[in-house]
């Protein structure tokens, strides 16, 4: 087995702020192979963005960040043989933009409003020791690669003269400018409309194939996960709940949280519109997201999980290979979900009972 591109172990992130500590990421370990696409799914506050941005030092540890919250990052993240946590800022800077590229959620606020798009793309290249002239030519190529027509004219435009989709394409051009080994995409399509989202997903798939780069794609949309991921990693309460090949996680779900997420989505097949009679309900997950200011104890999903045992509430389950599952399919759970579901189905004899999982 070859060495992984990125090897994360026991990563923790804490924010200190006026209101106290936020336990954002609580011991995350995984590895990413070269060329692999990992989708990190979770809700707001699950730690999905925080843990990824903490590694390359984009979470307030640098000097020019202006973030009011102090950040503590612990654990280890080895990228291409080098430890990122605790690496001096100057060295991190050389890695960012060259070996690790980034695409952020909101292309409007993520692009500098007073610099031209061409300048901003070229800057990603000149910052890593390429002459301005070469960089400019390369910037025009990049605009063409990401599908922006008339690159020569568009390069002189400012971000506000671009449409939302075009801006995100420019952002992608910045991200891939130095052909990085890893592209980190933090909810790159969340701010976009569904038609534009589809175009951006297609573009990213193409680029991934052309450049052979690995990708970490952070999202909350299970549909997007299904369309781009090789591997899925479901996060909740700052922990990995389940992780594995995309088909295994979707079709052989082992975490109650993943199961709840997938089943709470509306399904075209279950619908029969009529004014009369009771319409089907969605299978909702009861309760509220966890309070991240509390010291984490036990399985973070336990308070909302109807299958939770006493052990779930007090003891944190380790992330382990699913015994009878696909290789690389890991879950953090004290319960055995398929067995529990079978038992419930048998007892209630009707799938309708599962509609309200928490009552």
């Amino acid at each position: 087995m070859t060495t992984p591109l990125l090897d994360v172990s026991d990563l923790t992130v804490r924010f200190s702020q006026d209101r106290g500590k936020v336990y954002a990421v609580n011991g995350v370990s995984y590895s990413l192979a070269r060329g692999e696409t990992l989708a990190v799914v979770g809700e707001s506050g699950s730690g999905k963005s925080a843990h990824v941005l903490a590694m390359p030092g984009l979470l307030g540890t640098g000097r020019y960040t202006g973030a009011g919250a102090a950040v503590e990052v612990g654990g280890s993240a080895v990228f291409a043989g080098k430890e990122l946590i605790g690496m001096p800022e100057a060295e991190l800077r050389r890695l960012r933009g060259s070996r690790i590229g980034f695409v952020f959620q909101d292309p409007m606020s993520s692009l500098n409003p007073v610099l031209t798009v061409g300048e901003q793309i070229a800057e990603a290249i000149t910052s890593h020791g390429v002459s301005p002239r070469t960089a400019e030519a390369r910037a025009l190529d990049l605009l063409d690669i990401v599908g922006i027509p008339e690159p020569r004219r568009r390069a002189r435009h400012f971000p506000h003269q671009f449409s939302g989709g075009m801006r995100q394409r420019a952002m992608i051009a910045i991200g891939i400018a130095c052909e990085p080994a890893l592209l980190i995409a933090d909810e790159p399509t969340t701010a976009l409309d569904v038609l534009v989202q589809a175009q951006i997903i297609d573009l990213m798939k193409d680029l991934r194939r052309q450049l052979g780069m690995a990708m970490i794609w952070i999202t909350h949309d299970m549909g997007v996960v299904a369309s781009i991921a090789d591997t899925v990693q479901v996060m909740y309460g700052g922990r990995i709940m389940e992780r594995g090949p995309v088909r295994a996680v979707f079709h052989d779900t082992r975490s109650a949280y993943t199961w709840g997420l997938l089943n709470s989505l509306p399904d075209a097949e279950m619908h029969a519109p009529s004014l009369a009679g009771r319409r089907p309900r969605l299978r909702q997950i009861p309760g509220q997201p966890p309070d991240m200011t509390q010291v984490p104890v036990g399985d973070p999903f336990a308070p909302r999980n109807r299958f939770a045992t006493h052990r779930c509430l007090s003891e944190t389950p380790p992330l382990q290979q699913v015994a009878d599952g696909a290789p690389g399919h890991l879950v953090a759970a004290w319960y055995d979900l398929p067995q529990v579901l079978r038992a419930v189905a048998h007892r209630d004899a009707s799938p309708q009972a599962l509609t309200e999982m928490g009552t």
Partner: protein
């Protein structure tokens, strides 16, 4: 761009109109009225006062008086001083140069020191330099200008003898060196307050810019720290500073007035005091309107410059 300027121009004219009404009614409504001074002058009979009233058109109803006065304002006839009957514009014109000189010198000090300390403070937020400047700006904002002027005169003029105690230049000496020497004291005193204002604005503008998403993008690109500061942070943070010039002008003008009285500087400030003690209504009103015109036009210029400097407003 042109449309924006046009719209702002119309706004400015409307503002000027409002200003003229406010200024006029302010003086019209004050107890005593313009003739109170004459009524108290010994040797003036009731008939004399009434004759004067008719002569100056003060017996007309207020709107008529306003229209006459405003009409004169537009064509450049701002009335005549009660004291020596010279045209108001001439009186103001003879003094404004000195005041401008003082304001310019103070602004130069304020901008250079204020911007530099603001940037440094923000870049090392909560560092030692930042803490010290924060306290110093707070003190500078709180010191009464006239008292600070008195202290400066006492220490640097009377005790140390470094600077002259007042006035723009001794009679008969019009060398620029002497003028500069006389300018130091009042310019520093006037500049102190503005320095603090510029420093605080700059600091918060830089801090706000640092928190923007595009700064994270620039860091994610691996941009060098120096380039990040000069190319990304300052370009954005300096933009709103353009409008500060216009916004700061009224307080700078008022500060100049105060400083001039302490340093016996022969500018608008002295004129103003002479005029209010003499109740020279046309001159007082003229100066109020003049300062307002100055403020409005500088805001217009600052706004136009902003429109040119910010690409988001440049086109369209």
């Amino acid at each position: 761009m042109v449309r924006r300027f046009g719209a702002r121009l119309i706004q400015s004219v409307i503002l000027l109109w409002i200003v003229s009404i406010v200024g006029f009614s302010l003086l019209y409504l004050t107890p005593g009225g313009p003739l109170a001074m004459f009524a108290e002058t010994p040797g003036m009979t009731q008939e004399d006062v009434e004759r004067l009233e008719r002569q100056l058109g003060l017996d007309q109803p207020a709107p008529i008086q306003y229209l006459r006065w405003a009409g004169g304002l537009v064509v450049g006839d701002w009335g005549r001083s009660y004291r020596d009957d010279s045209p108001v514009l001439e009186v103001i014109g003879s003094r404004i140069g000195q005041t401008f000189k003082l304001m310019l010198a103070a602004t130069a000090v304020a901008m250079s020191v204020g911007l530099a300390t603001g940037i440094l403070g923000a870049v090392r937020q909560y560092g030692r330099f930042d803490r010290v400047t924060t306290i110093l700006t707070m003190i500078a904002l709180s010191i009464p200008t006239f008292w600070f002027g008195l202290l400066v005169i006492y220490v640097f003029s009377q005790r140390l003898g470094w600077i002259p105690p007042g006035n723009a230049a001794p009679v008969g000496d019009d060398s620029w060196l002497s003028a500069l020497h006389h300018l130091i004291g009042p310019a520093l005193v006037l500049g102190l307050l503005s320095t603090a204002v510029w420093s605080r604005y700059m600091r918060s503008a830089v801090l706000e810019t640092l928190a923007q998403d595009y700064i994270r993008t620039a860091r994610a690109k691996g941009v060098l720290r120096s380039r990040l500061l000069f190319h990304h942070v300052l370009r954005n943070a300096l933009l709103p500073m353009i409008t500060l010039i216009g916004l700061e002008l009224p307080s700078l003008f008022g500060g100049a007035l105060v400083t001039e009285t302490v340093f016996t500087w022969p500018g608008m400030g002295r004129l103003f005091f002479d005029s209010i003690s003499y109740r020279d209504y046309p001159v007082i009103l003229g100066m109020l309107i003049f300062s307002a015109i100055l403020v409005i036009s500088s805001n217009l210029i600052a706004d136009t410059l902003y429109g040119v400097a910010d690409p988001r407003l440049r086109r369209r």
